[in-house]
Symmetry: C2
Subunit: 105 residues, 2 copies
């Protein structure tokens, strides 16, 4: 946890675009619910579907969004597919968000 970073170094248009892509992947409450659940360990699609209470195809699409941006990874074992967090550091983003929301300046 070497939290230097005097000021974020994002500068080129491409940097802003890729940062926006990450935030977009995080901009849906059901995807945040999925990420939160995966924080406790891997889950199969059926479990996540039961958790969020939407159609399995919808959950599968949400997982695909998270996979494409590199937030989760999938692993097929038999007939089931298990998803897990690929970015341990992701929990830091939630921490920053907590600070953000607590910050009443």
């Amino acid at each position: 946890m070497k939290s230097t970073c005097p000021i974020a170094t994002a500068k080129t248009p491409a940097d802003f675009r890729s940062a926006a892509e990450v935030f977009k992947a995080l901009s849906n409450p059901n995807r945040l619910l999925i990420i939160d659940a995966l924080g406790q360990g891997e889950r199969c699609v059926a479990d996540l579907t039961a958790l969020v209470g939407l159609d399995m195809s919808t959950v599968s699409n949400h997982l695909s969004v998270l996979r494409k941006i590199g937030i989760v990874k999938d692993e097929r074992r038999g007939t089931r597919v298990f998803y897990s967090l690929r970015k341990a550091c992701l929990s830091n983003i939630f921490c920053c968000l907590d600070e953000f929301q607590a910050c009443g300046e």
Copy 2:
């Protein structure tokens, strides 16, 4: 900067919804560009319009998104309106994002 936060405490559906709202406000590259610029100090709408290179009405709408979520504040002085960052802690989110993107796990 009391960075406890063992694990993010967001839990209720409302928590996930409001977190998603914040990420949604951050999910546009032009809005990130605006936030980055405001990190160096207040700017009027004309300056920000020149910076992002879109129609002024579009920039005004982006600023309205950022204002509604509490990221920026506005202050009219004469005929101009100056925008500035309301959340100093916002730069932490960019730092987390840098860590996230550097994290090659």
